[in-house]
């Protein structure tokens, strides 16, 4: 097979008992314990959320940031199926897997944060749900997307189970789920930005704008590509595989295009609304605004040239700067630059942090399990057999 051909996906194989999976297991057990305490004794027993900052990291990090970091799947699907860039095909499954776990665990995480979680079904029940609510749009859309992603990913399981007929039938209609799997995340990732709008002046002017949906959508797309850069490099080094440079290089270029567009939109908006002077005050708000946006400028310095994009270390770092910027955009809007009035402050408690870490660990664990047991990652060309290292 030449390197230009699609490498067929294959299970990586190997043992599930490694230092990494052990650590993940312990972190998951701690998380489960904390969640039980929270369910019996209320939110204040484990978290520091309060009426000034009613949304802590379980919402902002686990759901808002977690789901944005899980946009790799739909970003790759956009490239491959919509813009017909078939060569990226080997990146689709691993990216989709990352998204699947990111979203599924984000969805699970939000239920522990809901104060009256047993009523959760109201969000989908006519007579209860409120179509004017941005939260309704986000919640309904994310739930639907999680289901769609499991359907999109199910050929992998059917393949493993040898159910070829079922798989073939499913694949006949897969194009529809793929399209749906692109529209849904675009909708709710945009709406995650719109969630800030109703909060009015409580959100600092550098982050309060009616074009929030566009900013969050662009940010989610560039995050998607940034995360794929990051994940590909990490997976390659963890499994001692080759980095798919011939794919990552042009993909990174697409990402730079989106980042450029994002920066133009972001700064035009801030300038048009007259909020630019706010960015030049000596305050931590201005500082975090610049860190957020200079991270993106740094991406151009890191991988601006074709030559630089052939360097795995630079691609890896670029993935990190993009992720940092996207994380900060959301942290800033919902926590750092959110001000309900004097007297309120928030910093996550240790159990709160442990749960967030534990959910991340669960994602890593799931990713390792599926890639080792199911055909997700492209078959390694240099080995005749799947690697057992």
């Amino acid at each position: 097979m030449s390197a230009q051909q699609h490498a067929r996906p294959a299970p990586v194989g190997g043992s599930m008992f490694t230092a990494t999976t052990l650590v993940c297991g312990i972190l998951m057990a701690i998380t489960a314990t904390i969640i039980v305490v929270r369910l019996f004794f209320g939110l204040s027993s484990t978290t520091n959320v309060n009426d000034g900052y009613s949304w802590g990291i379980w919402v902002v990090v686990d759901v808002f940031i977690g789901s944005a970091l899980a946009c790799g799947g739909f970003c790759m699907a956009l490239l491959v199926y919509v813009f017909n860039k078939g060569k990226y095909h080997p990146l689709v499954r691993p990216a989709l897997l990352g998204s699947l776990f990111g979203y599924t665990f984000a969805g699970a995480a939000i239920t522990f944060d809901l104060g009256r979680w047993w009523n959760f079904w109201h969000i989908f029940w006519p007579g209860y749900f409120n179509v004017n609510s941005v939260m309704f749009e986000v919640a309904a859309c994310i739930t639907l997307y999680i289901i769609v992603m499991w359907i999109e990913f199910s050929p992998v399981f059917l393949e493993k189970l040898g159910l070829r007929d079922a798989r073939r039938k499913l694949e006949k209609s897969l194009f529809f789920f793929i399209a749906l799997g692109c529209v849904l995340p675009m909708m709710h990732q945009a709406s995650l930005g719109t969630m800030l709008v109703v909060m009015g002046d409580q959100v600092h002017p550098l982050w309060q704008t009616p074009i929030q949906p566009l900013i969050y959508l662009l940010s989610a797309i560039m995050l998607g590509y940034g995360v794929i850069l990051f994940e590909s490099c990490v997976a390659a080094s963890a499994y001692r595989r080759q980095i798919e440079l011939s794919l990552l290089n042009p993909m990174a270029k697409v990402m730079l295009g989106i980042i450029a567009l994002f920066l133009v939109v972001r700064f035009t908006d801030v300038a048009v609304r007259g909020a630019l002077p706010e960015a030049f005050r000596a305050s931590h708000i201005a500082l975090t605004f610049w860190v957020e946006n200079l991270c993106l400028v740094a991406t151009f310095l890191l991988i601006g040239t074709v030559e630089a994009r052939r360097n795995p270390a630079r691609l890896f770092l670029a993935g990190i700067t993009v992720m940092l910027s996207g994380i900060l955009l959301r942290l800033n809007g919902f926590l750092i630059a959110f001000d309900t009035g004097p007297g309120w402050s928030y910093f996550p408690s240790v159990p709160e942090l442990l749960v967030t870490i534990g959910i991340f660990a669960a994602e890593v664990f799931g990713y390792i399990y599926i890639t080792r047991r199911f055909p997700v990652l492209p078959r390694e060309e240099t080995h005749a057999q799947p690697a057992h290292s």
């Binding site: 699609h6 067929r8 813009f83 095909h89 009523n119 007579g127 939260m135 529809f176 529209v183 675009m186």
Partner: protein, 346 residues
Amino acid sequence: MNTPVRKARAVPDGRRRFLKGCLGTVGAAVAAATASDRAAARETYQRPADALGLLYDATLCIGCKACVAACKRANDNPPEFSTTDKLWDTPLDTSGYTFNIIKMYRSGTMATKDDEENGYAFMKTSCMHCADPSCVSACPVTAMTKDATTGIVAYDPEACVGCRYCVVACPFGIPKYQYDSPTGQIGKCELCRHRYKDGHYSACAEVCPTGATLYGRTSDLLVEAKRRLALKPGSVTTYPRGNLSGGPDQSYEGKVGNYKQHVYGETEYGGTQVLKLSAVDFEKVGMPYLPPKSSASTSETIQHTLYGGLLMPFAVLGALTYVAKRNVHHEDDEAPPAEPPGREES
């Protein structure tokens, strides 16, 4: 069986399809957006004609906190302690168990009441019953509702999922959650709507000895507020107490305060049903500046433009389904056709 991949065979063709894909999707989105745009723009709501509310006149308030105690009783709320001896109900702010509180403004020597410099003043904190409430717009499950006739913003714990979007959204920080309970609810003033059937009205207004908190139809309260603003500071006038729009006359004569010429709540976010008068700058006593256009209307305009009738999502979905159907190839055990060599674009 292997359904062949519909693949871009040559660079110009590939580029053309790429562009077509982009243009088709964007075109569908824009067409749908402009179609839904006309119907979508949502004006800021105004108060219903018979809206009920309160008028709080800070210059009349003596800080006795009778209203705080009455509110506790009317809503069956437990005491909250901020002192070590725990003898009295001493909440420092509204909470999931305290829906009304009197806060104090202090400056310098605190010598005179209602002076911005070296003075002190009071301010009531409770739900404003907004004409266009952020909490109602935010709530995903219609647990926060605004009554079409009375305009009272009510809360239904049976519907609530406890997401606390209302807590985050309200510009006055009014809805509060009970974090210490596994079955915590949102707590907020509902204008004592549960007391109406017994012929009662807002407990805070019922007990207020000076009429600083006055209950009534907001339209009547607004007329009364404007009457006070037009009076000469220091002159004597009649102040009603209790229920302005009905009930026995409990009025008395008192001195006119040195009002700021602003009825807080007349236009803020489209207006509120609880109105306030103060001699100290409103922002200084914790009432934020709010434009006449509500944030709920901005938020809902965006939502309806993007998702009204699901027009735009379906347009984009249609376009994407079309291109995806052409581009998705069915994988099977055979290796799919190879890409023509030498196509690394960078």
